[in-house]
Symmetry: C2
Subunit: 228 residues, 2 copies
Amino acid sequence: MDKIKGTFGRRVGKKKDNVSPAVIRRLPRYHRFLGELLKQDKLRISSSELSCLMGVTASQIRQDLNCFGEFGQQGYGYNIRYLHKKIGELLGVNREYNAVILGAGNLGKALISSHMFERRGVNRLAMFDINPEIIGKTVAGIPVYSMDDLPRFCAEHQVDIGVLTTPKDAAVAVAKTLAELGVPGIWNFSSNELSLEGTGTIVENVHMGDSLMLLTYRLKAEKDEADK
Amino acid sequence: MDKIKGTFGRRVGKKKDNVSPAVIRRLPRYHRFLGELLKQDKLRISSSELSCLMGVTASQIRQDLNCFGEFGQQGYGYNIRYLHKKIGELLGVNREYNAVILGAGNLGKALISSHMFERRGVNRLAMFDINPEIIGKTVAGIPVYSMDDLPRFCAEHQVDIGVLTTPKDAAVAVAKTLAELGVPGIWNFSSNELSLEGTGTIVENVHMGDSLMLLTYRLKAEKDEADK
């Protein structure tokens, strides 16, 4: 069988992994909503109920969720626990990844203090910074080391994800170091859009400002509408 | 002419605003890249150069940018300054919006200290918190007031955007208060996905954890591929 690698490293021609990048990008939201339903002890949900809850059409939901298998039974709806688990497995949740945070400023502190990592099966191992005032301390129970100790730390620990929250000027150099140290994934919050093609390191760029622009766009569109 | 309101409050049937929500979501990224090119004193760029830079197909770029007018001239490429300006106008950049930040914790501090707001023509007016230790102080030159002062502040100032960084438990109540006070836009970082339908307040939800899941998905896909 020919193996063709798609945008997300998926393999075409194999049922389970044959999910389009567009659907993949929507799956974390399903995972969140299904997780909330589980907390409320719900067992089953129909595509039309899920549609109301999520503000997506029922047909879109059926299309998205049928992509990677048949979870819905006509008239019975989806088994929430099973679907939540399957989506989580597909997304690599609970694979026990290890993360380090580069930069112990406000953003680094905010991220490490959130429940985001644990919930997705990602262990927070350590933070790294260049500021002597914070090196040696802990944030949310996680030790802060000197950036100089990063190579040794990566040699001694399995580090899967580097969370990049350094200032923009330092980000490229730190990202290159992470790639050289063989860290396979970078979650990049610096405003530089990084690409480390050819290094084997994957970068997921986060641009919070883009979402602020979508908000100002929507405010502008509403106002223009009201002014007419 | 019939006015039909689309998902983003756009008006169908009017050339300039007739941009699909999918294209709108991609525009902030174009705006960023074009802004970087301007800083490098570039004047023109072809769709194929932009394609290499952004990792998008040239045909996608032509489609996206033709949606709201003809900016490219065959053989000459795009006028970067003009395109940057037009995309900015469409997205409502530099409309002089006023924002307040609800919650002066690490995330609130990280956001208010970034250049994100200024760059998009959004003024940072004030922060609000319930912690007496921070009330009365300033963060990045912006005053922190008591949450109790929010109604009076909103009565005395034009507040367009409330940036919600409070803990999850407080978020719904604060969002409702903002809507009651007539604040038209909420940029929501609390992990609650808010919808304030019927209040006239628009919510842009940010879920940073979703992007962490996309990273773990890609790590998993790469590893599965390598293991085979």
